[in-house]
């Protein structure tokens, strides 16, 4: 089996953990805001993994990808919250279950 440095392995495990926590949050919470937050948390998982790998290989690509993750997170939050606000105004509801159909 190939050997990876401990920090990399640990970081990767933590990355998966972060992703899992985010996923758990997404599955658990019915509130749309919380789900958006959970999404953000999920994103930090890969960010960590990228940076750890970059660090392990000494390749700036890791941090580059981190920047892209960042950009993605930002645009995703913007749209998510905008939709949330609109949804709030239309159906004044915060619960994602009640928004079943696209018809609103």
């Amino acid at each position: 089996m190939i050997d990876l440095p401990f920090f990399l392995v640990a970081s990767l495990v933590l990355a998966v953990g972060l992703f899992a926590v985010g996923l758990f949050g997404l599955m658990l919470r019915r509130g749309i805001l919380f789900q958006i937050i959970a999404l953000e948390i999920m994103l930090t998982g890969p960010a960590l993994a990228f940076v750890a790998a970059g660090a392990h290989h000494g390749d700036p690509g890791g941090q580059g990808m981190f920047v892209f993750v960042l950009v993605l997170a930002a645009s995703e939050v913007a749209l998510g919250l905008a939709l949330y606000l609109r949804l709030g105004r239309l159906a004044d509801v915060a619960d994602s279950d009640s928004v079943r159909t696209l018809r609103h």
Partner: protein, 166 residues
């Protein structure tokens, strides 16, 4: 064993705990605060890994800007006591299956990766190298990313606008 690596792992695990707590808080503000905490500890981990630019950007953009937007949005909604009570109500139910699935996801990752632990230390990557790659071979990707950001900007502005015109 390098100390930097160790410190990075420690910071990462702190972030993991904070995020876990953020996810389970019924009160939105508390959740946001825990998220900020987690992000900051993660930034520390980046610094430990030698990814200085990443850490700085994490603090500035991620924790500062994105979560700040969250705070603004939270301010507009009434996260009063009944909202919290409602959240607590929803929390009570249905957490067994997600937890089981999360454990299912974690188990192979942890056991699979754990076996491969070995020596080695993170090598720091200077922002100069990063800048060279970003605006070197990755220039197209950066432009695409900026286009996406503009699109997100317009989308958010359009969606969040109050309908005035009928």
């Amino acid at each position: 064993m390098s100390w930097a690596g160790l410190f990075a792992v420690w910071a990462g695990s702190l972030a993991l705990v904070a995020m876990a707590l953020a996810v389970t808080r019924p009160n939105v503000v508390h959740a946001l605060i825990w998220v900020v905490a987690g992000l900051l500890s993660l930034a520390a981990g980046f610094f430990a890994l030698g990814a200085g630019f990443a850490g700085a950007v994490q603090i500035l953009i991620y924790a500062g800007a994105i979560i700040a937007v969250f705070v603004f949005v939270v301010m507009t909604i009434d996260s009063g006591p009944e909202a919290i009570a409602r959240e607590r109500g929803w929390l009570g139910t249905g957490w067994k299956l997600p937890l089981a699935l999360v454990v299912l996801v974690l188990a192979p990752a942890v056991f699979g990766l754990a076996a491969t632990a070995g020596p080695g230390a993170p090598t720091p990557v200077s922002p100069v190298a990063l800048g060279a790659t970003l605006f070197g071979p990755w220039a197209v990707a950066v432009e695409a990313a900026s286009a996406m950001l503009i699109a997100a900007l317009l989308g958010a502005r359009h969606l969040a606008r109050r309908e005035r015109a009928p």
